[in-house]
């Protein structure tokens, strides 16, 4: 892999926001503490990936899946994350299903337009735009990596 070392850092602004939201209001977080937590988060991703990969290998699978990540949390003694993670997974699956249905609905809407469905339709379009933007971002990242 030809990535630069800074590609393995997580964005400081987002990390700082997560810390601030977790701590009581008005707590001062030193700059050194922020960058230490950010580094720790990158190491956590690597550690979790390596644990999850072991579970995938045991199952003779090449692709890491959701259950591998959940098993990794247990192995790493972060059992406390499992319940919120399962909830997030449910929410994610619902969201994906919703998007699929929304795009199917949109096709139907194109065939027969009625006034009552108009507001719903505009919301669906917003979601699609977000999705497209996200995909674009990811593509850009991958190009950067190749260089």
């Amino acid at each position: 892999m030809a990535e630069r070392p800074e590609d393995l850092n997580l964005p400081n602004a987002v990390i700082t926001r997560i810390i601030k939201e977790a701590l009581p209001d008005g707590v001062n977080i030193s700059k050194e503490a922020r960058s230490a937590i950010s580094r720790a988060a990158s190491v956590f991703v690597l550690y979790a990936t390596s644990c999850a990969n072991n579970f995938a290998m045991k199952g003779k699978r090449k692709t890491l899946n959701a259950s591998d990540v959940l098993s990794a949390m247990e192995e790493m003694e972060f059992q406390r994350f499992i319940t919120p993670l399962k909830e997030a997974l449910e929410a994610y699956r619902r969201e994906q299903k919703g998007k699929k249905e929304a795009s199917e609905q949109k096709k139907k809407d194109k065939d027969k337009k009625t006034d009552s469905e108009e507001p719903d339709k505009s919301r669906d379009e917003d979601n699609d735009e977000d999705e497209e933007r996200l995909e674009e971002e990811e593509q850009n990242e991958e190009e950067e990596v190749d260089n």
Binding site: M1, E3, D7, L8, L10, P11, V14, I15, R17, I18, E21, A22, L23, V27, N28, I29, S30, E32, A33, A36, I37, R39, A40, A41, V43, F44, V45, L46, A48, T49, S50, A52, N53, K62, T63, L64, N65, A66, D68, V69, L70, M76, E77, F78, F81, P84, L85, A88, L89, Y92, R93, E95, R123, D126, D130, L134, E137, E138, E141, E142
Partner: protein, 131 residues
């Protein structure tokens, strides 16, 4: 404040994860043995990393020294890595800070110890040569 808006997308809906998935994927793929990751595993890892950041920060703050001063410092974090079993894997990247003078003293003591050991081994070599 801008902080109120964050964590939500432009439609005002709560987003599932706020860390960038593309970056999380790059970090995961930097591990040589990993060949591919499905989208659900990626989302879950990103979410787990958020929970981890929250947990590390609150744990270190609660067990730290700065509660009266309302501050979270590097030392609080390195203490956590040293003392908590769960956060042990961070010990290498969050080393305890020591004074340079103390480090030099440690280095000197170590060197003296080594010299003594060398002397001992020299003597035993001599013994062997004599016998």
């Amino acid at each position: 404040m801008a902080d109120v808006v964050v964590g939500r997308d432009k439609c005002g809906e709560q987003r599932l994860v706020s860390l960038p998935l593309s970056r999380i994927r790059v970090i995961m793929k930097s591990s040589p043995e990993v060949s591919s990751i499905n989208q659900e595993a990626l989302v879950l890892t990103a979410k787990a990393t958020e929970l981890f950041v929250q947990y590390l920060a609150t744990y270190s703050y609660r067990h730290g020294s700065g509660k009266e001063k309302k501050a979270l410092t590097y030392n609080d974090l390195s203490n956590t890595a040293e003392e908590s079993e769960t956060f042990q894997f961070l010990a290498d990247i969050l080393p305890k800070k020591i004074l340079a003078s103390k480090y030099l003293k440690m280095l000197k003591e170590k060197r003296e110890d080594e010299e003594e050991e060398n002397d001992d081994s020299d003597e035993s070599d001599d013994d062997e040569a004599e016998s």
